[in-house]
Amino acid sequence: MDGFNLPLLLALAAVAGALVWRRANTLTWLLFSWGALWAFFKFGFTVPIPQSVATIYLGITTLALVCFASSSRERLEEVTSPIVRLIREPRYRLPLAALLVALPALAAYNVHADMNVPLEAPGFGREVHPAPPTEITVHGETLDMATADNPYIHLHEDDPAAYEEHLENGRRVYYENCFWCHGDGMGGDGMFAHGLNPAPSNFNDGGTLPILQASFVHWRIALGAPGLPAGGTPWDSAMPAWEKFLTTEEMWDVNLFIYDFNGFEPRALGQH
């Protein structure tokens, strides 16, 4: 249960147990469910979940509970009859008065709490996978991003020895230039990584390299942060434009190497 607020979960379970023991009515269960889920979304995680997500979850919770309460005439009667009794019967005057005070007080407190949030700069939603342009120019050569492929990939079948040479060259390039940020094992945890936000890409992640064509990775290596599309700014990327420091062959070689090292293959053209 790492990552969750265990005492809260236990407390909620204890209350639920007590409600089962006391054979609580439907209305009590509905109120408890809403309150328990609110508490869980608000305090149930060691790292708090963002307000935007909590709002979505609470919206779904509210909708589901309303649907349940009104999904049959009998159930609606079960839910509303205690409320009607509370309003009508004289013996409940004191709790009714308390409720009439508590509800606006709760609303007032909510407004107070909403108004008293610390001032902070707005957060930026970052695009993790920028969409590539249709073509790029590297060292004066224009490449069609949809059709371009690693020019040495075919050597894997045609000339394994030459392919190994390119891999070795890629290894050299990687450990001379890239490992500082992307790490020895390519986990995005190089020695400079702690100073970068967002962190460098983790190439071990199965959700990164395999879903990208080799042309995409070449685009990122060759043009780096300065080559990112304007449409998705701000990028906050520290990736250099390696075309200024490496030859085209070196960049395709390192492209081969990072795929080979992680045991992934680039997404093929037309692959779903």
Partner: protein, 639 residues
């Protein structure tokens, strides 16, 4: 003084004020300043009066405008603008309205024909009546479709003349067949509608069948135009290396190379499949909303019973079509990704991905609304208590899946929240934002909804099948096995690479479809001669159930508008992707907030127009006008 007299007095005063102002203006113009010399008086007497300063000014302005117009050479306009709204939004709204009515007009004949056919086979007149009730909505909707089609065509010609001309260059051979098919559709539609009861059942069914064939063919042609704009070519392994190559239907300058490749382009068939299914779901929901509208206005029990049943059938059609829709959408999205990495990433991982969170919320609402309607529907059948206990668990499953589907991979968060999470994704919830979790959630949602249908179908009926227990257990095992398989692949998806994970969607889908097929096959003999334990009281639904139907229709419409924008917006600054660049002032991608506002306004306009369609369609059932008799008039005067 009475209020009416005061209002009348104000009206008269306003009318007199307008008359006086107009007359005063005329008097001042007629008596404007003239030069007071004899020469002027003489010229005036000869009919050669010199112009007054005002008249001279007007004449000078006209001459200057004419000179300016003559000095300008004629040039073909690339774009024209619309004040305030902008040309893009104008065409966007017109296209969306045309598409919504067209989708409805294509969908309704499809299920009206099926319902009529069921009635013909079962020899039950009520099905025939229901099919006719659905068809009544078509006549006005067809006119609306044609009207907005004309609006859209003129809008494109006026506002995007150069681009429209280019599309004509590519697709001109398809226009004549399109118009001919449109003519045939009108012929079949009106003969199907006005010929109800006038032809033999087989002839009438043939008309309905042909109406569907022609309507679908029209949609397929129109789909070629719009999918060409997204994917002007095909992918084919030309050099035999096992890797698909891009084969463009046009040259680099945009000249047509192959009409066949332009027509049967890469995304044409995925759109066709997606649209047919979505149209039926949408059409069913709109027809159900019409039934809800009539139910809420119904005065007699008979009317209520009829429209309750109609709403149920409409919703049934919508949900049955809706169940496979996520799969068709997934197929379309994967084909877009396969066609263009840029468009694929743009759609699911970049700018447009936020709209999929809204889509998740809407689809979650749709599932919840559909199940809710079914649960309320159990109330019209006697003997439902037994199944009520399952509703709680179904609701928990649906709410959980809804929450998983709506969980964003990268949340909108404040700076302090981002700092606490160490990035935009939450350490625990980020796993729910991935495709494995989403696919699992949608499959379980579909299974749960199917289960609600099954419970509804069984409500008030007792199976008399000798193997009842065995067959029911078999159904439970199939259901549990499908759910377990879906969850297994969902969890296992996190342990494998992305390419394998994406392929896991296929066994998940197949296990759900297979489970639904097997359970249905078992259920048919199981409840074929079931004993009716409780009576079904059509027309005894609470009003909230009808609002749920209207809500479902609204959600479908909004969803179509939103996803239509995503599909079209993926082209970004291109009219035809990679071929014809949009150089108009509207070439930028609008903000997501603005896009949702345009979609919302379009949906509101559509529902306003739909109100007119509903009203016109319901006029046929009203009593004929009868002039009041002399006795009634006298009675009125005496009172």
């Amino acid at each position: 003084m009475s209020r009416n007299k005061i209002l009348f007095g104000i009206g008269v005063l306003a009318f007199v004020s307008v008359i006086v102002t107009v007359r005063l203006g005329g008097f001042l113009v007629d008596n404007e300043y003239r030069q007071p010399d004899r020469q002027a008086a003489a010229e005036e007497a000869l009919g050669q009066a010199e112009l007054t300063p005002r008249q001279q000014g007007i004449a000078d302005e006209q001459a200057a405008d004419e000179a300016e117009a003559r000095a300008l050479p004629y040039e073909e306009a690339e774009y024209r603008s619309v004040p305030f709204v902008g040309s893009r939004v104008t065409v966007w709204v017109l296209a969306q309205l045309h598409l919504l009515f067209a989708a409805f007009v294509l969908a309704v004949p499809l299920f009206a024909f099926i319902i009529e056919f069921i009635g013909y086979v079962k020899k039950e007149e009520r099905y025939n009546k229901l099919a006719y009730e659905f068809t009544k909505l078509l006549s006005v909707s067809f006119s609306m479709t044609a009207t907005f089609g004309a609006f859209l065509t003129f809008g494109l010609i006026i506002l995007y003349p150069k681009f429209t001309n280019y599309l004509m260059h590519i697709f001109s051979p398809t226009f004549l067949p399109y118009v001919l098919l449109f003519f045939l559709e009108a012929l079949f539609l009106y003969s199907y509608y006005y010929g109800w009861g006038k032809f033999g059942p087989k002839v009438h069914l043939f008309l309905g069948f042909m109406l569907n064939i022609v309507g679908t063919a029209i949609m397929f042609i129109a789909n070629a135009w719009l999918t060409f704009m997204m994917s002007p070519g095909k992918r084919e392994d030309v050099d035999g290396d096992g890797v698909p190559d891009f084969v463009s239907a046009v040259s680099e300058s945009g000249a047509l190379l192959s009409l066949r490749d332009a027509f049967f382009n890469f995304t044409w068939m995925p759109i066709n499949i997606h649209r047919i299914i979505a149209n039926v779901a949408f059409g069913g929901s709109i027809a159900a909303a019409y039934a809800a509208f009539r139910y809420l206005r119904a005065k007699t029990d008979e009317e209520k019973a009829h429209f309750d049943w109609m709403g149920y059938i409409g919703n049934f059609v919508a949900i049955i079509a809706f169940l496979p829709l996520p799969f068709a959408g997934y197929y379309l999205a994967s084909e877009i990704y396969a066609y263009s990495q840029t468009m694929g990433i743009q759609m699911m991982g970049s700018t447009f991905s936020w709209l999929f969170v809204i889509q998740a919320a809407l689809i979650g609402n749709l599932f919840l609304g559909a199940n809710y309607y079914l649960w309320l529907g159990m109330g019209r059948i006697e003997g439902t208590v037994h199944f009520q206990k399952f509703i709680k668990w179904l609701l928990i499953a649906i709410a959980l899946c809804f929450a998983v589907w709506a969980t964003p991979r990268y949340a909108i968060a404040s700076v302090s929240e981002i700092a606490a999470m160490g990035g935009n994704s939450h350490p625990q919830l980020a796993v729910l934002g991935q495709m494995s979790a989403k696919n699992t959630a949608v499959n379980i949602l579909i299974l749960s909804t199917y289960m609600s249908f099954l419970l509804y179908r069984r409500t008030g009926r007792l199976s008399l099948h000798p193997q009842k227990q065995l067959l029911t257990r078999a159904q439970a095992i199939v259901f549990s096995a499908a759910a377990a398989l879906v969850i297994f692949f969902g969890i296992y998806g996190y342990q494998v690479d992305a390419a394998t994970r994406v392929r896991f969607a296929i066994p998940q889908v197949y296990s759900v479809l297979a489970a639904m097929a097997v359970i249905t096959i078992i259920d048919l003999p199981l409840y074929r001669n079931a004993r009716q334990e409780g009576e079904t009281h059509w027309g005894k639904m609470p009003a909230i159930s009808q609002y749920a139907l209207i809500f479902i229709a609204l959600s479908f419409t909004w969803l179509m508008g939103l996803m239509g924008y995503v599909r079209s917006g993926l082209r970004q600054e291109w009219h035809v992707y990679g071929v014809v660049l949009d150089t108009s002032p509207d070439a930028y991608t609008p903000s997501l907030g603005f896009a949702t506002q345009v979609v919302s306004v379009t949906v509101l306009i559509f529902f306003g127009l739909l109100g007119v369609v509903f009203w016109l369609s319901s006029l046929g059932g009203k009593k004929d006008y009868e002039p009041k008799s002399a006795a009634e008039l006298e009675g009125g005067q005496a009172a």
